[in-house]
């Protein structure tokens, strides 16, 4: 009887039942047919208890922060900043697109937000610069999957909650894989640039921009604080590895001196326009520093970090960029409330589903089946990646993680895969699934932003998907890629 539970669930999903209902109908049917109809109340309670959680609150807050920054015009500043860095290379705007995605990923945890925000700015610009529309849309879609891999990340918050892992550890584990996806895509652009003769672009699009004296002051101060902090840590690291004991005040003085030297050297080499573009990016780019810095230092919980990100976004949009009015807030709040309410219900349903899954002995049956295929963890990881990739073609990352995490996670932890490593494999694989045809969410968004057909973008994106698949396998077989940062910072053992 119990064995029918998972197939029934799959059939319901395939015929188009919303995941939320399928997650409840399948276990409900199971309980009812098993003569345990009076246990349905447990199912209901689990949905409620699943949603009633403080750590989950980071989800609506990060969604809101991303939404505010997007409306507040921060996107444009990031794009101009990326262009000043990489625009002059061959295939310049494609590189700019990818670099902007990496930066945007540090502000938002959603691939869809990334595609719509960067696509609406960059796809028309790339077309004007001589790229085909399908190529521009494909680069945008392919690079936007970096959004949920680099922290903050909506799906990692969900995974951490459903599976009882630490959000901070998952966030930190995602940094290197996310940057690897970005660098991999840039290498592919470089290869394609030779083949298709992709154009270079100007480093500065809008010449003669200005910056208000107040922001200029803030930006200069913040840039120095950032640089000094990096140098301070670096000097400590070098001194430590040389066995020298340098007092903190000396480190600070050396860091400050070095930092000022670097800024003076940079200043001489840059035109006024480039300087302004860099300065205008300093304030928005503090967001990932605040979020990660706060979590890393153990000062904030991820939920607190997320609310600080919201406050910071409001502060910038109202007082620095002055691009938002109080009247814009209701629509932004509503959009985030709608988006997060569906996800929260899904999480609640997943918690209910998970309890019945464990009652049904389905994981044991499935584990026995999976382990009968091979006893070699490496082979199993290969197979599981294939499975995740296929699932990702049809299902969005969030729901897929909610469904598969509780079923697959324990099996792989038992055969010796680190839970955080497995979480990253799942997250990256299913996030890439957002850009795979036939049912890739970001493909649809890229299509609606660019006006290009989904089928056309699906073909143009193939070389980039190949890169992403390669990165997935690197992450799978080199655990250090994901585990080094959380280990060094002491978030996992």
């Amino acid at each position: 009887m119990l064995i029918w539970f998972l197939p029934a669930f799959l059939v319901l999903l395939m015929i188009g039942m919303p995941v939320f209902f399928a997650l409840l109908v399948a276990p409900g049917m199971l309980l009812w047919m098993d003569g345990q109809g009076n246990q349905l109340i447990t199912l209901y309670r689990n949905v409620y208890n699943g949603m009633d959680s403080f750590p989950l609150m980071a989800l609506p807050f990060f969604m809101l922060a991303g939404e505010i920054m997007n409306r507040g015009g921060i996107t444009l500043r990031l794009v101009e900043f990326s262009q000043a860095i990489m625009g002059h290379l061959r295939g310049g705007l494609a590189h700019v697109n990818i670099l902007s995605s990496i930066l945007f990923a540090g502000l938002s945890g959603s691939a869809v937000a990334d595609t719509s925000a960067l696509g609406s700015t960059l796809i028309p610009a790339m077309e004007k610069n001589g790229y085909s529309r399908k190529f521009a849309a494909a680069v945008t879609a392919a690079s936007s999957v970096i959004g949920p891999i680099i922290p903050p990340s909506g799906i990692m918050i969900i995974y951490a909650y459903v599976m009882g892992e630490s959000v901070a550890a998952l966030f930190l584990a995602g940094i290197v894989p996310g940057i690897m996806v970005g660098v991999g895509l840039m290498v592919m652009v470089r290869l394609l640039a030779d083949r298709y003769d992709l154009p270079k672009a100007e480093r500065i699009v809008r010449k003669g921009q200005s910056i208000t004296p107040v922001e200029n002051l803030i930006a200069r101060a913040l840039a120095r604080v950032n640089m000094i902090a990096v140098l301070f840590v670096l000097i400590g690291f070098i001194a430590g590895s040389l066995g020298a004991n340098v007092p903190w005040w000396l480190r600070l003085i050396v860091a400050a001196g070095l930092s000022e030297g670097i800024f003076i050297a940079l200043r001489r080499r840059m035109s006024e326009d480039v300087r302004v573009v860099y300065k205008r990016a300093v304030v928005p780019l503090q967001t990932p520093i605040i979020i990660l810095g706060g979590i890393l230092a153990g000062v904030f919980t991820p939920t607190e970090a997320s609310v600080i990100a919201v406050a910071y976004a409001v502060l910038i949009s109202f007082f620095i960029l002055r691009s938002m009015k109080v009247g814009d807030l209701p629509a932004i709040l509503l959009k985030s409330a709608l988006g997060s309410s569906t996800v929260l219900l899904l999480v609640g349903a997943a918690v209910a589903f998970k309890t019945v899954v464990s009652l049904s002995h389905a994981p044991e049956t499935l584990a026995a089946f999976i382990l009968s295929l091979s006893e070699n963890p490496l082979t199993l990881l290969f197979l599981i990646n294939m499975l995740l990739f296929i699932v990702g073609m049809f299902l969005d990352a969030g729901p897929a993680i909610i469904i598969l995490g509780p079923i697959l996670g324990p099996i792989f932890t038992d055969i010796g895969v680190h839970p955080v490593h497995f979480a990253i494999i799942m997250s990256v694989n299913l996030t890439v699934g957002l850009a795979t045809p036939p049912m890739g969410l970001v493909l649809f968004v890229a299509s609606s932003v660019s006006g290009e057909r989904v089928e056309t973008i699906s073909k143009a994106i193939l070389p980039f998907l190949a890169v992403e698949v390669a990165v997935i396998f690197l992450i799978t077989y080199v655990p250090a890629i994901s585990l080094t940062v959380p280990r060094l910072t002491g978030f996992i053992q």
Partner: protein, 216 residues
């Protein structure tokens, strides 16, 4: 009058009746959900302020308030209960819709109707179970730190005006209200599907406030 035309006339009568029912239901629901969404975004705004207050008090004044986390969770539950029905109505619930789309028109719509019927079953059960939770024993547990100046006995709808600790039932009510609203939304969607099958030439009005409601 021939028997055939009588049948057609009564068929048209049923159709007219269904249209009237649908139009009224849709209009009423639009108003109800508009109010729900209004409260939902306010709840999200208050959540931000509440947790911000917690952060400022904790790190600024080293005096972490004990009520902020609980209030924020309360608000989040209500935000979900009040916003999710709109998302359901606007197609914001994730589904793999390849099969219904690949089917010819009428079988596709019939499959949709079947799915909606199952969803309705889940929601009606949710409404029943939710009510049992609100009026039951678990609903009486009081929150440790939140107070309100009234107490509602839901089973009898009696209100007593006195300061009481916020009981669990007020939090439980969020999911129950969400289930109730989603039940009505599902009924509307079912009626819509039936009308699309029976009267394919007439256009169905869309909710004028509709906006994208999904998330990855």
């Amino acid at each position: 009058m021939t028997p055939g035309s009588a049948g057609r006339a009564s068929g048209e009568g049923v159709l007219a009746y269904l249209w009237a029912a649908y139009t009224r239901l849709a209009a009423g629901l639009s108003v109800l959900l508009l109010i729900g969404r209004g409260l939902a975004w306010i709840a999200l705004g208050l959540m931000v302020l509440t947790i911000l207050h917690q952060v400022v008090m904790r790190y600024g004044f080293n005096a972490a308030p004990n009520w902020t986390e609980e209030l924020a969770r309360f608000l989040m539950l209500w935000m979900t209960g009040l916003a999710a029905p709109s998302a359901l109505r606007w197609g914001g619930f994730v589904a793999i819709d390849m099969v219904p789309r690949a089917l010819p028109r009428v079988p596709g719509l019939l499959l949709n109707l079947f799915i909606l019927t199952l969803a309705l079953l889940v929601l009606v059960l949710g409404v029943q179970l939710g009510w049992r939770e609100i009026t039951g024993f678990g609903g009486r547990f009081a929150s440790p730190s939140l107070w309100v100046p009234f107490d509602v006995t839901f089973a009898t709808f009696e209100i007593a005006w006195e300061w009481t600790k916020v009981a669990k039932k007020y939090m439980f009510a969020s999911l129950w209200v969400g289930c109730c609203l989603m039940t009505v939304v599902t009924l509307e969607l079912m009626l819509r599907t039936v009308l699309t099958i029976l009267d394919p030439n007439r256009d169905l009005p869309d909710d004028p406030h509709m906006m994208a409601a999904g998330a990855d």
